[in-house]
């Protein structure tokens, strides 16, 4: 697998920096993909040799055409296939024979059209493997490299974008053209622009690794429709961020919850595909964006300006209302207003009129011209407490918008602190915004977007970029015992594993089992209760009963032998009247835990990300309150703690309104062990621990109840 990754990296280098390109299947018919690809390559002033390959044409655009790629007398670095899918494999075979290693397959008609197309796609992969070739596509728009030494526009987009430091990857070709148009209007440039289509060979993961090492790329953006291998994407993202420090921003479309409703456990019903994707991305440091606007708002902040050192900003505005709006937006996103030094306020007092507000947010007053803005911005840049400057402008009759924009661009040059702008309005401020955008000063229509972008950059640099993903070593894990127990519970073909056996398995992984035992007679139940001490809890144990409380199969707080005996009768009677055909194995007698907080932990297997863990406040209303968080196993200690911090339950567990703080370290430990169990036993489809009793700080936690669903298609 590693060899293939290396091969693809080598071949990607040629895809982006070819010295010669063959367009295989091109023609002379304007407005067709085979023609326009060739036309775009020529129009972009590609710094290399172009070979049209066409079965019928003798020349195209004045360039000699070859009937077959193998007829080209010289070496060819890159082939772009634009034949119909029915014959693309023939062209690819010839590329292999010609010794071409790097290929872009534009043609559609593959996996996306069904079974026949999937077979054609498989054929392409087989040919590629045979000749050590790598290809992007099929079913894609193509690839663009704006680097001046190459200038390759191997796409059928309308325009080649400007050079820039943003790398953009997209599974959707059509979205690429919309992005290019959007970016063109805002003067956003790209380093590499890649439509990877069906990703039959080169995937988004290969491209992430390529952009990790690409010196032209500072920020990586991606549009994804499906995450084929979530764990691989997470690993790749972590590696890219750790080695290059480049942020990865992804739009993942398709926020539906297929499968969650049919789940048999609380964890199953609470764990939707999108929540898992959110959790996986966050754990890996990927910044998930909801839409293109949000993605590019953040991307420009990353790409154009230095990162802020702290969350403290200065706001410079010529209007009070927008200043307040910006302050609200900043504070609500966790940013802070910098506190100016006396020196700064003295400078501002001297430079601004008496009516101006010289504290943060600085109001330079509605009649301000560029000189006031410049003085205030410079003072803010020079203040040690300020880490970033927000410039707000509203267009008033005397506001010299364009001059202010040009001066903001000038003063921002060479600064080590970022400056973001929001020229509010539309028509009157349009030319000023254009000036800002041309000079790579991030501009935002809304102050809220500006604050969001600042926060994204600040958070990434402070908390993500240098984060090391280290898995903890866990003691007291009895793998062999767990395997034996698991083999035993699986031996009779059951998919539902009830409490007693489930707790045994969990206990073998160091999760704290309750004091107690299975009783098969009332007398035995009393003996157990006497041994572990009253009060006790008794629960029905049956392979046929999943929800014990639904059949009134649980009795709490039993304080004597008589109460145990009475409860024995009631539980049997209740369970059998609710489910007459159920076979009751016995009753589980355990020590009653009092004064603990009840939480839920769980496992669910996600088709893309694998084992997913759930944490939340427990009890029977867990699905009502949905105060839960998710994590993809295996977790680091920080990941597990972050799962706790994401919930409202965290405040309760920390101790609020006189309640004792609970033992959160033991929850983190339980999550880590559960994650390891989920990784080691892929046959666990779902698992609920509900409740886990969490005692006061330092006193640990105890399993209250648990059940497990095993996969039936192992």
């Amino acid at each position: 697998m590693k060899e293939l990754r290396q091969l693809r990296q080598e071949n990607l280098e040629t895809i982006f920096h070819p010295k010669s390109v063959a367009i295989v299947g091109t023609n002379n018919v304007k407005g067709t993909v085979p023609h326009d690809i060739l036309y775009n390559i020529l129009k972009a002033d590609f710094n290399g040799i172009v070979y049209p390959v066409s079965p019928r044409e003798k020349s195209i655009k004045g360039i000699k055409a070859y009937k077959y790629v193998v007829d080209i007398p010289d070496d060819v670095d890159l082939a772009i296939l634009v034949f119909p899918s029915s014959v693309c494999h023939m062209a690819l075979e010839q590329c292999g024979q010609k010794g071409i290693k790097s290929v872009i397959i534009i043609s559609a008609g593959y996996k996306e059209v069904g079974e026949a197309g999937l077979k054609r796609e498989q054929q392409l992969i087989e040919i590629a493997r045979k000749y050590d070739m790598s290809f992007i596509g099929p079913n894609c728009l193509g690839v663009i490299n704006t680097a001046p030494e190459t200038r390759l526009d191997a796409s059928f987009a309308r325009e080649m974008p400007d050079q820039g430091n943003i790398g953009f990857l997209s599974q959707s070709g059509a979205l690429c053209t919309a992005v290019l148009d959007y970016a063109s209007a805002k003067h956003i440039g790209f380093s590499k622009f890649i439509s990877f289509g069906n990703k039959a060979d080169i995937s988004e993961i290969d491209l992430l690794f390529y952009l990790m090492n690409d010196e032209e790329t500072k920020v990586i953006l991606m549009y994804l429709e499906e995450v084929s291998d979530g764990l691989a994407l997470m690993d790749a993202a972590r590696e890219v961020i750790e080695k290059s420090g480049k942020p990865i921003l992804i739009i993942k479309s398709g926020r539906t919850d297929e499968g969650a409703s049919a789940a048999a456990s609380h964890t199953g019903s609470l764990t939707g595909a999108d929540e898992v994707c959110d959790a996986g991305f966050e754990q890996a440091g990927i910044i998930r964006c909801d839409n293109l606007e949000e993605m590019f708002n953040r991307a420009r902040a990353f790409a154009y300006q230095p990162p802020p050192e702290t969350e403290k900003v200065a706001i410079i505005t010529n209007a009070g209302g927008p200043g307040v709006l910006t302050t609200d937006a900043a504070i609500s996103r966790g940013l802070k207003l910098a506190k100016f030094s006396e020196e700064t306020t003295a400078i501002l007092k001297k430079a601004l009129p008496a009516t101006a507000n010289i504290n943060n947010p600085v109001d330079v007053i509605g009649d301000a011209r560029s000189d006031r803005y410049l003085a205030a911005i410079q003072a803010a840049f020079d203040d040690q407490d300020v880490s970033g400057v927000f410039v707000i402008l509203t267009p008033q009759s005397m506001t010299d918008i364009d001059t202010i924009a040009a001066d903001v661009a000038r003063i921002a040059e060479g600064q080590t602190k970022p400056i973001y702008t929001s020229f509010m309005g539309e028509k009157d401020v349009a030319s000023g915004i254009d000036i800002l955008q041309r000079h790579k000063i991030p501009h935002y229509i809304l102050p809220e977007s500006m604050c969001d972008a600042y926060k994204a950059v600040y958070h990434f640099n402070k908390n993500v970029k240098d984060k090391v993903h280290q898995l903890p070593s866990l003691d007291n894990i009895q793998g062999e015992l767990a395997r034996k127990l698991m083999d035993k519970v699986k031996s009779n073909g059951r998919s539902y594993i009830p409490e007693v056996e489930c707790i045994e398995v969990l206990g073998s992984y160091g999760l704290p089992a309750p004091q107690g035992k299975l009783a098969t007679t009332a007398e035995e139940a009393v003996q157990i209760a006497e041994k572990i001490g009253y009060p006790v809890v008794m629960k029905v144990v049956s392979d046929d009963i999943i929800h014990k409380s639904d059949v009134k199969g649980v009795e709490l707080n039993l304080g004597s032998a008589d109460e145990v005996k009475d409860a024995w009768e009631r539980i049997h009677s209740n369970a059998l009247s609710a489910m007459p055909d159920a076979t009751i194995t016995g009753l589980y007698v355990i020590k009653m835990v009092k004064g603990a907080e009840e939480i839920i932990l769980g496992i669910k297997r996600d088709p893309s990300f694998g084992p997913v863990l759930l944490f939340g406040l427990g009890g029977i209303f867990v699905e009502v309150f949905k105060d839960v968080s998710f994590g993809v196993a295996p977790l680091s200690r920080e990941d597990a703690m972050h799962m706790l911090e994401q919930t409202k339950a965290y405040k309760i567990l920390k101790g609020t309104r006189g309640r004792n703080p609970r033992d959160m370290d033991s929850i983190v430990d339980a999550l880590l062990r559960l994650g390891q169990l989920a990784v080691d036993f892929p046959e666990i489809e779902e698992l609920d621990i509900n409740p886990l009793f969490v005692l006061d700080e330092g006193q640990g936690c105890v399993l209250g109840d648990a059940r497990m669903i095993l996969t039936t298609t192992e």
């Binding site: 019928r56 029915s86 014959v87």
Partner: protein
């Protein structure tokens, strides 16, 4: 009708429809990959074969034909 005769007539039709010199057409020539047929010409080829041999072919299956030899075999079934 002999297969050789069918082959010659198929090549004639292909040469006329695709405007390709008959000498460039071999028995295993692929209409798209070797002779550069586009989707419109593929439809025209089917129509050309039907007229030349006075047959009515299954359109979907006929459009799946990729080579001269495939065309000869397919047409033979109708004669």
């Amino acid at each position: 009708m002999e297969k050789n005769e069918i082959l010659t007539q198929v090549k004639d039709v292909v040469s006329n429809v695709l405007k390709v010199d008959a000498t460039e057409i071999s028995d295993d020539s692929n209409f798209i990959f070797d002779l550069g047929a586009d989707s419109m010409q593929s439809v025209e080829l089917v129509a050309g074969f039907e007229e030349e041999f006075d047959i009515e072919m299954d359109q979907d299956k006929a459009l799946e034909i990729q080579t001269i030899q495939d065309a000869v075999n397919f047409i033979t079934e109708y004669l």
